[in-house]
Symmetry: C2
DNA sequence: TTAGGTAGTCAAAAAAATTAGACTTATTGC
DNA sequence: GCAATAAGTCTAATTTTTTTGACTACCTAA
């Protein structure tokens, strides 16, 4: 389905729409994310939804996935520069709450 | 279904989620809104969706509905103070696009 | 070698959001 | 009076999103 983009802020807004993305983003600001921890941290969520959200955030360029090859060999998600650029927007939003 | 609010920005984000709300908001910044004009301006939308979105934006306190009792007696939607407070967030968002 | 953790995928079901189309009520202009 | 415009509502269908549960594959520790 074709989506026409009229409002420039709309794309960004859409990036963070979805039931879990804002929460994931908030946690990513605090520290790198790992899949199973996230699943435990966000009660009410589930594997599939988190997997989808993480994939989308990655595709949108807000998060990046890294394989940590040391010690217990695992995967981390970190905010990209683009992702960090969104932090002030969140802060402003929180200021209005 | 119970929704627990962990992230304070999430509520605001949710306010503007949904297919048409960001666009409606953007138009509301420019001038007061009227139902049928909106329906014509936003191509691809429909009565029901706009009615729902307007009602929600109103409930969230971002828009207010006024009956204009003059001339051709009609209804207008305007940004509330709370709605206006969101304008800078939008601008910041646009700056990042 | 067997159990447990990590990081998922897949298909199907359930729930939520969006749309279509018929219908309503009130006010105008002619 | 008659037709048009404005601002919707209602029900049902369709589409999209989210959830569930089973299943993979790879490591590591005992």
């Amino acid at each position: 389905m074709e989506e026409i983009e009229t409002c420039p802020a709309q794309r960004l807004l859409k990036m963070l729409s979805g039931k879990w993305k804002a929460e994931i983003f908030r946690l990513a600001v605090e520290s790198p994310l790992r899949f199973n921890s996230l699943l435990r941290q966000i009660q009410g969520s589930n594997k599939q939804s988190l997997a989808t959200a993480l994939k989308e955030l990655e595709e949108e360029g807000l998060l990046e996935k890294t394989t940590i090859k040391l010690k217990p060999l695992h995967i981390e998600y970190n905010l990209t520069e683009k992702g960090q650029a969104l932090i002030p927007v969140f802060q402003q939003l929180e200021g209005l709450s």
